[in-house]
Symmetry: none
């Protein structure tokens, strides 16, 4: 039980200011890329002085890392929540796809940063970040693998390497959702979600 009420107005303000700064940074970073955004620009957009920005984040990298980790946490928590439900396998997989689609639809900005980091395309803001994000990602994959394993045990999914199944699901969701993001009018959201499920289950469902 956390003591939420204990935050004074001062502390509330601080948190709000921090959020405003991160929001400004997210907008700019996702739009122009890490190196094409200056601290002054972020401070300006957040309507704070440059010195104030540095009171909250000790340097640019720190700000970036805080931002990425915050978003990665949200992302992984959302998926993790779904994967840890004790539902039947097919429901879990369906929910997973839907949850991921939700995230893609709602946080395009953050996604660009996330994929820049995880896809090795990261215009590496030095090391360190990789490790932390990687860990989150690996945990999530682990859960996905468990889900697959459970599905196989329960004879819902066919025999096979559950790791490969997880990889396949990842590939299909990313691919379909990216395509949809780039050209949202072409195919409906529901259709895409449906297709992912179908493609995956065609390949992995037990007969």
């Amino acid at each position: 039980m956390m003591e939420k009420k204990k935050l004074s107005r001062r502390e509330m303000d601080k948190l709000r200011h921090r959020r405003q700064m991160l929001a400004a940074a997210l907008d700019l970073f996702s739009l122009k890329g890490y190196h094409n955004v200056s601290m002054h620009e972020i401070a300006g957009k957040a309507e704070f002085a440059i010195g104030t920005l540095y009171k909250f984040f000790k340097n640019k990298e720190d700000l970036y890392k805080a931002l990425i980790m915050e978003k990665a946490d949200e992302y992984h928590r959302a998926l993790s929540d779904v994967l840890s439900k004790e539902n039947d396998t097919l429901a879990v997989i369906g929910d997973y796809i839907a949850a991921k689609a939700q995230i893609f639809a709602n946080s395009v900005a953050a996604l660009r940063l996330y994929f820049a980091e995880t896809r090795g395309a990261s215009f590496n803001i030095k090391a360190g970040l990789d490790q932390d994000i990687r860990k989150l990602y690996d945990e999530m994959v682990e859960q996905l693998v468990s889900t697959m394993k459970r599905g196989i045990d329960r004879k819902v999914l066919k025999e096979g390497d559950p790791y490969y199944m997880a990889v396949a699901l990842e590939g299909l969701t990313n691919s379909f959702l990216f395509c949809w993001l780039e050209d949202p009018k072409h195919h409906s959201y529901e259709e895409n979600v449906q297709m992912i499920k179908e493609m995956f289950l065609n390949g992995c469902l037990a007969k």
Copy 2:
């Protein structure tokens, strides 16, 4: 008939020098990212003076663009060659996966740049590039869709949207090959290629 022989030693040297510069740039960019590499660094690694570098590429962006386009061309040509063969559908798909795997195995460095660009993660080296690369990518997808269509017509693949099938194949190959790249010892190359094919065909083969 192209007159290849007509290149004087001078011109041969120039081409070689250009290649050396691009090679140095590729190494550095893929390792540290566009903004974390200086022109001096590239010149140094290529063992040329900074001025010489600028004789070949009018500025940093131009060098980057030349590099990306050269690699993207190679990549797409390789896949395009496979897809335009008049073989039977399954062979083409198998060859496509194998060719893509080859590329992943051989040009990790270039791939990082390529995905940075196509995955929207591009830490935008200004505009212009997007368009050109995008076009190459779209053409390739178009060919892939045609292949699928032909497979459906010939009753090799089951009824369905050939575009979705192409997206699925893209997703599966990228996902499996990325995983394999990150952890090559864990699963063999052949096993991965095999898995991709299986997963895809399970979902798309006509019964």
Copy 3:
């Protein structure tokens, strides 16, 4: 009524710093010429960091332009003040020559830049400046012509084209004052001023 008092210490400092930078730039530019002075040199002489210089002037050209315009303004204002006095014509002309002599004596440095610009010898810091300075110059000449016209009307100066008289006065002052500047010990200031007046009036006085 202007509110001069409203400047905070912060703002006062800023203005002083700006003046210091411009002073350093004037010294160096007039001594060595625009292209032979680096921004670092100016910053160094003004005892500021290079970045600070760029906070005040967005680039080298901008700094140069600010400098030239400031000096040209001073120069033209001084002459304009004299010419707009409602004195009798001969007094105005005498004052004009004296004022111009004062300026030559006091601001050799600025003069070199000014003549570089107005004499077409400008080693053109791109366009734009020409126009602004030209306008100031033309206005001043216009006033000079009016003075001549008035002198003619009042029968103080002889009949003739007042524009030509203005040109003649300009020529005589520049020529004498330049000579004097280059070799100040040879002939006294007063003697030169006297000679200019004499030469001019010999040519233009009504009999």
Copy 4:
């Protein structure tokens, strides 16, 4: 007696090439200023390779100096020729003005360089040049002073300091001719020449 005929074709070519290079340089320098013209640009305009340019002039400064001195020589020789004629004073002065006007009309390009150098506005291409040009200029002034002196002796010009008269004539010619150059349609060439003579003689003619 110089041996002019002895120039072989080789040597003739060399001279022609040199002239072509200097002509290209004059065009560019007077148009864009010393520092805004590159040696490559000059070589390009003269249609020679950069190395060839350096065969003729050991560096950029040397080329500039050669150019300026050549033009200054022409300029001073033209005036000197007039001033050394044993005509009567008024004729000499008239010829001098006419000759100077001719030069202004014919070689605007060179003039800009010349005045940049002599007016102290010179964006000083290092030292050295000043001295040589200065000497030419002083010699010419000396001749002008002699002419004035002779005029006074012959009672054509009134009593007074011949040096000041020379300065006055210089001032009037420069001023009128500059104005005319800048706005040639406004007043005719003849009118200007006439005005200079009038103004000067009004001030200096013996009564």
